[in-house]
Every structure is written in structure tokens, then in C-alpha cells.
């Protein structure tokens, strides 16, 4: 099993690299995993640049255009001549009862790049009023339409991604820290500590997640400022999430702690803390990385479900969950379907990207990895 492979130089076909180098090479060879990773980079960049990329702010209302369908660009100018530059045709509310709009609200206006628009503070700090694209007021351009209050759906999608995409990362960071520390201690200490921790996790796992989510939400007052709601959601999701991980880490630690090299480290007089942090936990790392990647969608969906139920991020702040909540009624579903499809596609693409990345990481990091199609 432990044959020294590179004892004789030149016998190995591959350059000698550590396990991480091998994993990295495997990962780069998988187009789907790389695609998922690249997609995530793009999504997080979009979230980061939301105030600039969004044509409007998340709570700016267009009082003349409620439930406006997605607008299209025309390649004909105000005089009706063909044009290489895109133009926007202003719309007019033709039928107020059905929210039907026609494109005869005035003469066409050109789409402008780096247009001046609503003021924002990027990252709460850098002031600005430039937007990637926009049209001169009073005309407006809503590429994905508007919601029941006349707010731009694309802008809300971009601002909402800041909530939805970070909830997963922050939640994972908290719950995995808890899971690693508690699971690691429990497995290494054994005895009554282990017994107490395991009974605690059993208790937590015996309550179905969504019920616990709802019940814990009830502990917080209903009307909190949106930042506190955000922190509350993350705290609840992390509190629910750590238990399962702690149990797995404990099991791994238990199996590693009796291995020869740990016994050797103990015999050499190494301190317990050092053994756990230097020798045992690093061995769980590849599992933890994969587990973290594939659990992030769960946290994103936790926020989506809470906000969908009206218990999470409150309007006017945007999140993908409360955007989806606007699509709950049958009338919206049949008449204004973009309110469903815009957040739905965003959620699907994000979850898919995390799953692709997680699958690729699992294939790359698993030491017992069998390459696709080569072995049965």
C-alpha cells in the first residue's frame, strides 16, 4: 500500500508534487468543475459591483410603471432609421387594470454607458452616481421589468445577490468553525465530554430543520432592522448546521487518533492541542472543503425560504427570497411571470454552480479517486 514511488528518480511519469498539487491538476482537468468555479467568480463579482452595475437602486420606485414587463432594446433611432447603437422606446400605460404597456410613450432615447443616476455608496463607503448603463430621465430602462411597487427587477436582483450570496459564506464560516472545534474536542477528549456533545447533537438533529428554523425565528422579535435580521438568519442557520458536521468530524478524529503517527506524536510528548491542530484536523481538511462547498446552497436556500415566508429580509431591502415571495399569488404567476423567473433563474444558477464546484472538488480531493470512465 505504502510503496515509495519516487525513490528512483525518473521512474515517475509525473513531477513529484504534494497531494494539493495533484488535486489541483485533477480539478483543472474537469471542465464542469472549472465552469462552476468560474460562474461563481462572476456571480460574486456581480454582487460586489451591484450598485454600479444596477441601473437603479434597490428601493427606487418608478411610479408610472408598476408590473412593467421586461423592456427590449431597439436598433432604430428616434427618427426610425436603423442604428448600430441600442435605443430605448419609452412606454405608456395603455390599460391600467391589466398593467398593459405600449411602446409609444415619447421619442426614443439612446442607451448611455456610465450614465449618471441615483447616488450610492459602494461598500457603504465610496460615493458614486455612475451606473454601467442607463437612459436619460424621464425615460427609464427596465431590462427585467419592474415589481408591484415599480422597482427595477434587475437592480433588486443584483442588490439581493449581496444578501443571498454572502449568507452562505458567513453561515458556513460560523457553523464549520463550531463543528470543527466541538467535533474535534469531542472526538479527542472522549469520556463524558464526548457523551454530552453527542447527546446534544442528537437532540438538535431530532428536530426537523425547517421547523426548528421557524421556531427559532419566533424567538427574535418580528420587526427588526434589516441588518439585524440578516445576522439573525445567519446565526439561526449556523446553529442548525453545525451539529451534523460535528458528528462527522468526531468520527473522523476518533479513527485518526488511534493511528500510528498520532500514537507516535503522543509518545514523543507532543501537547494535546498541538496533536489535534497539527496532526488530526488537517487530515479532515479535504472532507471539510468538499462538505462546505456542497452545504453552501443549503444556507442560501434557508435564507430564500425564510424571506419567502416573510420572516427573513424585509422590504424594501432586496433578497432573492423576498423577490420570490412576490410571485406567490396566482395572478402574478399568470400575468407577470418575470417576477418568478428572474429570482428563480438566479437561484438555480447559483445552486448549480456550487454543486458543480463541489462535485469537482470531491473528485479532485478524494484520495481513493477513480477517474471517470477509466475504471468500473
Amino acid at each position: 500500500m505504502n510503496e515509495p514511488r519516487d525513490v528512483v528518480p525518473g521512474t515517475s511519469r509525473r513531477p513529484a508534487t504534494g497531494p494539493w498539487g495533484i488535486a489541483g491538476r485533477r480539478f483543472r482537468r474537469s471542465p464542469l468543475a472549472m465552469g462552476g468555479g468560474a460562474l461563481l467568480v462572476v456571480l460574486y463579482l456581480l454582487a460586489l459591483g451591484a450598485p454600479f452595475l444596477a441601473p437603479y437602486t434597490e428601493d427606487e420606485m418608478d411610479r408610472e410603471r408598476f408590473y412593467h414587463p421586461p423592456m427590449r432594446l431597439h436598433f432604430t433611432d428616434a427618427a426610425g432609421r436603423p442604428s448600430a447603437w441600442p435605443w430605448v422606446w419609452p412606454t405608456r400605460l395603455a390599460d391600467p387594470s391589466a398593467f398593459r404597456y405600449t411602446e409609444d410613450g415619447g421619442s426614443a432615447v439612446p442607451l448611455r454607458l456610465f450614465a449618471h443616476g441615483a447616488r450610492y455608496r459602494w461598500l457603504g463607503w465610496v460615493p458614486g452616481d455612475r451606473h454601467l448603463f442607463g437612459v436619460d430621465p424621464p425615460a427609464r430602462f427596465h431590462p427585467l421589468g419592474t415589481d408591484p411597487s415599480g422597482r427595477d427587477v434587475l437592480s433588486r436582483l443584483l442588490y439581493g445577490s449581496q444578501v443571498s450570496l454572502t449568507v452562505g459564506l458567513v453561515g458556513i464560516a460560523i457553523s464549520f468553525t463550531l463543528g470543527l472545534v466541538i467535533g474535534g474536542l469531542s472526538g479527542y477528549a472522549g469520556g463524558w465530554v464526548d457523551a454530552a456533545v453527542m447527546r446534544g447533537t442528537e437532540l438538535l438533529l431530532s428536530i426537523p430543520g425547517l421547523y426548528l428554523l421557524i421556531a427559532l425565528r419566533g424567538v427574535f422579535p418580528a420587526d427588526l432592522p434589516s441588518q439585524q435580521v440578516y445576522l439573525g438568519i445567519v446565526a439561526i442557520l449556523a446553529f442548525i448546521g453545525w451539529a451534523a458536521l460535528a458528528r462527522i468530524i468526531r468520527g473522523m478524529v476518533l479513527s485518526i487518533r488511534h493511528s500510528d503517527y498520532v500514537v507516535a506524536a503522543e509518545a514523543l510528548g507532543m501537547s494535546r492541542l498541538r496533536i489535534v491542530t497539527r496532526h488530526i484536523l488537517p487530515n479532515t481538511l479535504s472532507f471539510v472543503i468538499v462538505a462546505a462547498t456542497v452545504s453552501i446552497p443549503g444556507y442560501i436556500l434557508g435564507e430564500v425560504v425564510l424571506s419567502f415566508l416573510g420572516l427573513g429580509v424585509q422590504e424594501p431591502a432586496a433578497s432573492w427570497g423576498n423577490m420570490l415571495a412576490q410571485a406567490r399569488s396566482v395572478r402574478v404567476l399568470t400575468s407577470f411571470p418575470w417576477l418568478l423567473f428572474a429570482p428563480a433563474v438566479a437561484i438555480f444558477v447559483t445552486v448549480l454552480a456550487f454543486n458543480l464546484l463541489g462535485d469537482g472538488l470531491r473528485d479532485a480531493l478524494d484520495p481513493r479517486h477513480v477517474e471517470h470512465g477509466r475504471a468500473a
Partner: protein, 322 residues
């Protein structure tokens, strides 16, 4: 075996106590005094309030309150009063639990009814076109959360009018005949059951495929082929029966997840089950109902796992002797 059953049943007692302690803690942690909302409510008489105070010992220290809570819940199945529904909590929960189990068992039928044939096809045509298409679809489907699939089906139902868009009964339920009621119920049940049932489908299908592939490699299958049996008979009669064995134990463990699985579908489709009751109780500030529903869901999960363990022990006697 008997000691195993006894030990396993006894193990659930501390767990149930722990769950009751946690739910009790949730009642205590909720903002404000439990009855402060109620005392402002004109439809609740002072006598009712005094009765509740006495029943749950709200004027006593917390350990007395917890003792009373335990006694009420476990000995009398008294989970308190639902203020929004003017009914005992247990009566509300019993109905909700029945509806949830009805939905969940239909969903399980959808899952297994599709997972077994699709898994068999994927295994028999391993690395073939059908196998590849199924595995790509399964992977993509893993990225569609229930909220989305639920809303998409609701969208289709609203567009086509083929299915009702929510609830459990039509308005004219009371005038329908028995057969008409059955059809009405099935029509209302179809979409939520489909949404709930499709969620675990992808992983069940892969498990079925894996289990069958394992069996197809065994020597007795080669023997069956060698003696000239037609392939469908080898797969269906000889291999499939043995491949289903590990899935039966897996089925046991999904019993516990039955209650939680349908939560989102209940809310999207307005199905009056335990999940919807919990949600409505929270939004209408009905603390005993929230906590009672959470406790009920947890108890069902614990009992489900207990049954699964016992089934497993019955199927594999080695477990009971460990």
C-alpha cells in the same frame, strides 16, 4: 432481540425529554410574556387567562413550569390552547399531522415509483445514452430547490387550469359524492406530492442503480445468464429482488424525514399540514401552537428513526447482537 428493542426504546426517553426542554426554552425565550398579547385581546376572557396561568403555572418559578409542562404534554397530551384557532393545540396538530402524513406518503409513492424503474434502466444500460441523460438530469435537478419547483408547477397549474392552485378541497366539497371527493382530493394532492416526491428522486435513483449494478456483478447472475435465461428475466426475477434489499432499509430511514420533507410544498400549495400550521401559528403569534407543532414534528422523526432501527435489526440480526 428483545433486549435490543427494549434498549432502543428506552434510548428515546432522554431524547424526548431533551426535545421537551428545548421547546420549553423556546416558549420562555420568545419576546414578552406568553399571555401579554392575549390579555390585550378582547375575545379572550379574563377567566380563560386565569385558567391558562394556573394550568401552566405561569405564576410559579421556571422549574415548576417545566414540570407542569411535561406532565401536561406527556400524560394528558395537553399542549395548551391555540389562541388563533380557539381549539386545543392537540386537536389542531392531530388534523395537521394526518394531512402531512397523507401528503408525505403520496410523495414517497412518487419517489419510489419513479426511482426504481429509472434506476433499473440506468443500471441495465450502464454508460449508455439513457444512463447518461438520466444522470445529467438528476444532477441538474439537485439544483432546483422545492420553492422553485413548487412555484413552477403552480405557474403551470394556473396557466393550464389542469390542476387546482392550492388548498386541500374544492369549494363544493360538501356537495360532492364519495367518489367525487376522492377525485377532488387526488387532484389537490397531485402537485404538492409531485414537488415533495421529486426532491429525493435523484439520489434514490442513483442508489437503485448502484445496488442493481452490484448484484449484476455477482456469480449467480452470470450463472443465470449462462444457462440461457432471457436478459429481462435475469434482471427482473433474479437480480432486482436482491438489489431491493438495501433499499428497504434505506426506506426505513426516510420514514423520519417524511414530516419535514413536505414543509415547503405545504406552504406553496396551501396544504393544511403540520408545516403550514407551524408557519401560520408563528405569523399569528400563537406560541403554544408553534411549540406544539415543532415538538410533534420532532416526535414523529424520533419514532420514525426508532422504527427504522427496529426494521433494520429485523432484517439483519447481527445488529441486535452488537
Amino acid at each position: 432481540m428483545r433486549t435490543f428493542i427494549l434498549r432502543r426504546v428506552l434510548q428515546t426517553i432522554p431524547l424526548l425529554l431533551g426535545i421537551s426542554a428545548l421547546t420549553f426554552l423556546l416558549i420562555r425565550l420568545a419576546p414578552g410574556d406568553l399571555l401579554s398579547d392575549l390579555s390585550l385581546n378582547p375575545s379572550v376572557s379574563p377567566a380563560t387567562l386565569a385558567g391558562l396561568r394556573h394550568r401552566f403555572g405561569l405564576d410559579q418559578p421556571w422549574y415548576v413550569q417545566y414540570g407542569l409542562y411535561l406532565k401536561n404534554v406527556f400524560l394528558r397530551l395537553d399542549f395548551g390552547e391555540s389562541f388563533s384557532r380557539h381549539q386545543p393545540v392537540f386537536a389542531v396538530l392531530r388534523e395537521g399531522l394526518f394531512n402531512t402524513l397523507l401528503l408525505a406518503s403520496s410523495a414517497a409513492a412518487v419517489t419510489w415509483g419513479l426511482a426504481i424503474p429509472l434506476g433499473v434502466i440506468a443500471a441495465v444500460r450502464q454508460h449508455g445514452a439513457a444512463d447518461r441523460i438520466l444522470s445529467v438530469l438528476a444532477f441538474a435537478w439537485l439544483s432546483v430547490p422545492e420553492v422553485l419547483s413548487g412555484l413552477l408547477l403552480l405557474f403551470l397549474a394556473a396557466r393550464t387550469g389542469w390542476f387546482p392552485v392550492g388548498g386541500m378541497h374544492s369549494i363544493d366539497w360538501d356537495e360532492l359524492s364519495v367518489g367525487g371527493r376522492a377525485i377532488d382530493l387526488v387532484r389537490h394532492l397531485a402537485l404538492p406530492a409531485l414537488v415533495t416526491g421529486l426532491v429525493p428522486l435523484a439520489s434514490r435513483m442513483r442508489q437503485m442503480r448502484g445496488a442493481l449494478l452490484d448484484v449484476l456483478r455477482l456469480e449467480y447472475v452470470t450463472t443465470a445468464r449462462a444457462k440461457g435465461l432471457p436478459e429481462w428475466s435475469v434482471v427482473m426475477k433474479h437480480a432486482l429482488r436482491n438489489a431491493l434489499n438495501p433499499l428497504i432499509t434505506l426506506f426505513g430511514y426516510t420514514l423520519g424525514a417524511l414530516v419535514s420533507g413536505s414543509f415547503v410544498a405545504e406552504i406553496v400549495f396551501g396544504w393544511p399540514g403540520l408545516g403550514r400550521i407551524t408557519y401560520e401559528a408563528l405569523t399569528s403569534r400563537d406560541p403554544y401552537l408553534v411549540v406544539g407543532a415543532v415538538m410533534m414534528a420532532a416526535v414523529v422523526l424520533v419514532i420514525g428513526n426508532l422504527i427504522a432501527d427496529l426494521l433494520l435489526a429485523a432484517a439483519d440480526p447481527r445488529i441486535a447482537h452488537e
